[in-house]
């Protein structure tokens, strides 16, 4: 029996509707991306620890990249759904691990702090004892037997690494993605409430009234010559008196300052998402020069001797010489990997070697060890193939 035309039309409409919904549903994975993480690493006693995009903390020999151990972090809960849930069941790591005593500590997107035995690689839940916090995006800082970090619940935590007790907690007005920094018993951290906080690292009391900017603060602050330098999403770099919190100067740019700045030779190197690194006078904030690198910079740079090493999102690693303000392409990671990749993890360095953690489609992620002066690819560690 023939179906009449208007009915056919409606059936077609239904079909089109279903296809569109399918596209929309698939859009939740392409538009709203799944979290992958952008953890950096730390080198202690020639062993390198970093968080992978597979939810593991990996320990490598820093000299040759040979594996010491891999510690997969286990999720306590699995958020199911309909294939489109924003929270992955896999543990996702954004923050850089911190080493204290015989453990490596890392905060995860599932709101759990893990402790991994530095010798065996055995991972255990460290904090909280019951349940979980909200996501931990920023890195952890371990100083004097205490572990400091901020969470998306807006609270800065100070934990005793031996007893796992909460030494103090300080609530801010919004999420914390920034990694805290500690200098002279003062903890500095930025918040999504657009303020920079200075707290006594011993008891969490305020050193001075939080300094308000006009945008959220994601970047970790840097303390240099009694001044706190940090970038904000209001497109400014700020310099505050570390003792009083008074504004010394601020410098405007085109886009967000997402990463921490580097201070060297009385100069501030401030990478920006507009693809430039602004070199500013540390005292006055006056622009000395700028380096146009052609792609957004969302991974924190690192200082190796007098070279500032910066990576762009699209995979080029540059060395900027602080003494003569010259830039040089150190390595093109895209060419080395022979595939498209993304660099968002903070760079880290040890003994003249720069470590670059890049996310690739084929491998998941690759960790490159480059000679900081020559750019020679010393070794690489592909995460998924191991």
């Amino acid at each position: 029996m023939q179906v009449e035309r208007p009915v056919k039309t409606r059936l077609w409409l239904l079909l089109v509707g279903l296809v569109l919904i399918g596209l929309i549903a698939s859009g939740c994975t392409t538009l709203g991306t799944q979290p992958k993480g952008w953890a950096g690493g730390e080198v202690t006693d020639e062993t390198l620890f970093f968080g992978s995009v597979k939810g593991e903390v990996i320990a490598l020999d820093a000299s040759d990249g040979s594996r010491v151990w891999e510690a997969p972090l286990e999720a306590e809960k699995s958020d199911g759904g309909f294939g489109c849930t924003p929270v992955s069941a896999m543990v996702v790591i954004y923050g850089t691990p911190a080493v204290a005593g015989d453990s490596v500590y890392v905060g995860a997107y599932n709101g759990i702090i893990y402790a991994i035995n530095i010798t065996t690689g055995e991972a255990k839940k460290f904090y909280p004892e019951e349940g979980e916090l909200e996501a931990v995006i920023g890195g952890l800082v371990a100083v004097s037997g205490k572990l400091y970090f901020g969470s998306v619940d807006g609270v800065i935590y100070a934990l005793d690494v031996t007893t796992r007790d909460t030494v103090w907690r300080f609530p801010t007005g919004s999420k914390i993605w920034s990694t805290p920094v500690i200098d002279s018993d003062t903890l500095y951290v930025g918040s999504f409430d657009k303020k920079l906080y200075a707290l006594d690292a011993n008891d969490g009391s305020k050193r001075w009234e939080p300094f308000a900017t006009e945008g959220a603060i994601v970047a970790a602050p840097v303390v240099y010559n009694d001044t706190v330098y940090f970038g904000s999403l209001d497109r400014h770099v700020y310099a505050l008196d570390a003792a009083t919190g008074a504004l010394k100067w601020r410098f405007p740019a085109e886009k967000w300052f997402w990463t921490k700045v580097v201070a060297a030779d009385n100069l501030i190197y401030a990478p920006c998402l507009d693809g430039k690194v602004y070199v500013l006078n540390a005292e006055t904030g006056a622009k000395v020069t700028e380096f146009g690198l052609g792609s957004p910079i969302s991974s924190s740079p690192v200082l190796v001797e007098n070279l500032v090493i910066v990576a762009t999102e699209e995979g080029r690693v540059y060395s900027l010489d602080a003494t003569n303000q010259k830039q040089r392409l150190l390595a093109n990671i895209v060419e080395l990997a022979d595939e498209a990749l993304l660099i968002r993890s903070p760079l880290f360095a040890s003994e003249g070697i720069v470590f670059v953690h890049a996310q690739t489609e084929k491998h998941g992620s690759l960790l490159y060890a480059l000679n900081a002066v020559t750019g020679i690819d010393l070794w690489r560690y592909p995460v998924s193939s191991n």
């Binding site: 035309r5 208007p6 039309t9 709203g32 991306t33 294939g83 489109c84 497109r235 085109e254 967000w256």
Partner: protein, 312 residues
Amino acid sequence: MIGQLWDVIALQPVMNVLIVLTDYMMSSFGLAIVALTIVVNLAMYPLTMKQIHSTQALQSLQPKLLELQKKYAKDKQKLAQEQMRVYRESGVNPAGCLVPMLIQLPIWIALYQSIIRVLAWTPEDFLGLSQYLYSWPVVYSALPLAEKFLWFNLAIPDTYLAVMVGATMWLQQKMSMPVATDPKQKTQGQMMLWTMPLMFFVLCLSFPSGLALFWVTSSVIRIIMQYLVSGWGGLVISRPGIKIRKPGQKKAALPEAATEADIVEPRSEAEKGLEYGESGGKRQDRGGGYSARLRAIRRQSGRGKDQRRKGR
């Protein structure tokens, strides 16, 4: 290339307007979604009304087409010719409801994608947001947007809101549906009535509530528009002998396409049958129904648009 063009001409403007609106709406992103959905709907009001009218006109021809189908069951060519004749004579374009929908579709997709991107439910999304922002200071100071709205968090799914999406979609679908006499048509109608609301309900259980809010607002606006055209439509339970007049029936009874056709429709048996239910009583006029429309055509036969105006 096309993706970049789409971002520049569609996505970026909508995203930035959403953020600015949030700033003006007491920093409430939820209110901004509602406001922008209303504004976009108002801007597309003529198109939407045209689409509703065209759909109604198509539905009103359904009984006549059914009749033809029975009559020419064995002669497909003749059936096709007759169907085309009916469309031509009634001034209804079978694709009339598709064209406005196709024009609206990119706008809805842009709005949908913008909400997804501005909500930025992962750190990667939030970082990616920066490339879409205009250099207006207000855009930078408004971010990050507050996720709380009423009882729910706009960035995570909410069951109550998902139920509201399903319910409002069902209502809107039901209002726009004609009462089918043919069992097969009835089954298809039922499928149509439940499939979309159920699907959106399920999707909303895993989508951020911001999107669900957008769909609820859109559905409520569509319900209002549908009400203006056809009253409660398919929601009214048909009772023989009771005639319910829809709001603004005199004005809205005739689809625009049909009013301009100026056709004198011969009163056929099939047409007569439409005015009376099986029980023999007067068929309920659900507003914009077939009989009302044909009566209107007859009233206006032989007169142009201007003449009709003068005649009032």
